[in-house]
Subunit: 410 residues, 2 copies
């Protein structure tokens, strides 16, 4: 008897009919002789509706209160899913994040899991229940509800799978797996049968529809994650430790496994900062204090003791980041702060890519031939990322997808 953790996203739980259909899928997994723990997101657009309600009351809703509000969405869907299973004749019980033993730090809105104590889950499983856990939420040591940020239900599911030493974590959503690129941007994108954790982490961080933290957790605890559609029975994509991405693109022994795209990007440039040691720290520390992550950083060569410092943040963080940066720039006697939010990130991802030569130059050449200007460049061991104009993103992604032989056959 295996223990399986399944996660269902909001688009799979949009209404009563869909929830009944999800309940039948859970029941089948149970019938197959598995113990099942299910993690659910809020139904359909519930989270957006709750945010709208909060915004109708307050311009700056308090993060702690916002977490109480948003957490109700998952409470509703988990108890409704439990009811649906019971009405099919199965034993099922819903648990809140707190009841499921998920404790977090106090960073409301983007809390980090601090501890897992799945004792209650184990009790309920042992007594024969299917356990439905409210995703996306935890509780501080002071018993205040927290949320794990967008996509947090993925994190809940993988963390539970790891803590319960589950055979695997199955993430059901409205897409049928992980693709070589976003099919809406690159029509010839192909579904991958499997992918390694590291590559998936880069794809997820750079645009694919999975929470990167959940992939990290899967990698650290070596918990295989299956991403599949809740609407049909196609096989999906298995994210695990032993995948060789090269196999997935067929005959061609190409080390680029996928193209990642991300439009949640904005650029901030501080002009004419005095170029002295510690200048970057004094700028980026206050951003980190505000929980704003800085991604690509470029510092131009110093001219006459002054330098231009350019970096990217999430577009959704731009307002707050700009406020912080302008304050610091004033203190440093620095110059003007310029921002742009019409940019996008475009990455090629593949294991061992940087061990081999020619991938970077092929990427830059392909973009140049397509008359696409590169604004900034950054790399990791298995990724090369260019910042380009958002208006050119789709064309650029298609060009790279073709150039690295990822296109599916016509």
């Amino acid at each position: 008897m295996a223990l399986v953790v399944q996660k269902y996203g909001g688009s799979s739980l949009a209404d009563a009919e869909q929830i009944k259909s999800v309940a039948r899928r859970i029941a089948r997994t149970c019938d197959a002789g598995n113990q099942v723990v299910v993690v659910v997101s809020a139904m359909g657009d519930t989270t957006d509706e709750l945010i709208e309600l909060a915004n109708s009351i307050s311009n700056h809703p308090d993060p702690r209160e916002m977490d109480v509000l948003l957490s109700t969405g998952e409470l509703v869907s988990c108890t409704i899913t439990a009811m649906a299973l019971r009405s099919l004749g199965y034993r099922a019980i819903s648990l809140s994040g707190a009841q499921a033993g998920i404790t977090t730090n106090t960073s409301h809105g983007q809390a980090q899991i601090a501890g897992m104590n799945p004792e209650r889950i184990m009790e309920e499983l042992t007594s024969g229940d299917i356990v439905i856990v409210a995703g996306f939420q935890g509780v501080t040591p002071e018993m205040d509800v927290t949320t794990l940020g967008r996509g947090g239900s993925d994190t809940t599911a993988v963390a539970l799978a790891a803590a319960l030493r589950a055979a695997r974590c199955e993430v059901y959503t409205d897409v049928d797996g992980i693709y070589t690129a976003d099919p809406r941007r690159v029509p010839r994108a192909q579904k991958l049968d499997e992918i390694g954790f590291e590559e998936m982490l880069e794809l997820a961080s750079y645009g694919a529809k999975m929470n990167p933290r959940s992939i990290e957790l899967g990698m650290v605890y070596d918990t295989p994650i299956l991403v599949a559609s809740s609407f049909d029975d196609t096989p999906g994509t298995l994210i695990h430790g032993e995948a060789d991405m090269n196999r997935d693109v067929g005959e061609i022994r190409n080390r680029v496994g996928g193209i990642a795209t991300d439009t949640n990007v904005a650029k901030i440039t501080v002009l004419s900062v005095r170029d002295r040691p510690g200048i970057a720290a004094s700028l980026f520390e206050p951003l980190a204090d505000q929980g704003i992550s800085v991604d690509v950083i470029v510092q131009n060569a110093s001219v006459g003791g002054a330098t231009d410092l350019t970096f990217t943040v999430k577009r959704t963080d731009l307002g707050r980041a700009q406020q912080v940066v302008e304050e610091v720039a004033r203190e440093l006697g620095g110059g003007e702060v310029v921002t742009a939010s019409d940019l996008a990130k475009l990455s090629i991802v593949g294991t061992g890519m940087l061990d081999a030569t020619g991938y970077a130059s092929k990427m830059f050449r392909t973009l140049a031939d397509a008359k696409i200007n590169i604004e900034m460049i950054t790399t990791s061991e298995i990724r090369i990322t260019c910042i380009v104009a958002e208006a050119q993103l789709d064309r650029a992604a298609r060009a790279l997808h073709s150039a690295f032989d990822l296109d599916k056959p016509e």
Copy 2:
């Protein structure tokens, strides 16, 4: 500095504008130098919508799951109210029933408060916060969410006021106080300035729009309860220990203070039960086990060793009650079970009424003159109740209201 507990019902919190208006009212109480604890019900029709959602999934939603579902309504309204206060520049924090220290037994759907530990509330008050508590909910020792039944937010408010030794509990709703009768049935009903706990308990149990359990709590802990409108600043009705109801009806020294009406009534008759000792117990014990309260009971004189047993239950309990009764009747070798749900309860309420003579006969005479048939009769120390046809209820209530000189001047 006084500590005041305020409760706002769902009809006072129907949308963002109403919530902002409630927040301004809370703020005024705070500005007047009070510490304020606020208990809220779910916004508008939220509870009904959640019940509808559950019914779309399951014919018999599990009571434990139902409580998780329903409790989310109050979580939303308490956090939204806290946000509204913060956006007015006040310090405010929302607490769930569990965080507010309200523990209950495990009777899901109609849980009884088992303990109050308002430590966290006191901390937050001391630190300068207005505390907004989710009404209607508590938590079992196993940390499972429970609800206190319809009107449970009244109970939460009065229990908190008692536990915090608050100066008073203010219940804001969509009516401006307690009336001598339901103004929708009796147009000449008058608002009472004050009323005693005992009379209010009878009125509440027999139709007025307050949860009887909350009145009992106020009586036991001697916590004055003000019932007033959240929509204007008219004075409302003070329910307290020292009220002399006689004063409230003006010149006339009449001991009937109010007329109570209740249409949540159904009648069950078991025909031809063998008349032997213990027959009532064997019928009513299984009903009590199911949490069904039996109200008026009439046993007809025994004819030839067989008797007809008639009693009333809440109309909302009729289905379940009938099932239990039919089972027991079969076991007892009893006869047919007949039910009717077109009845209503009509009561006259007043302190010391039964010490004086003539009230019962005046009630029966008035109803007879109005050609209204009395089906059953029951009395308490301060109440006389008749079961009549629902179709005749309004006419009967108006006749009694006039007969006992309760009508407001034309």
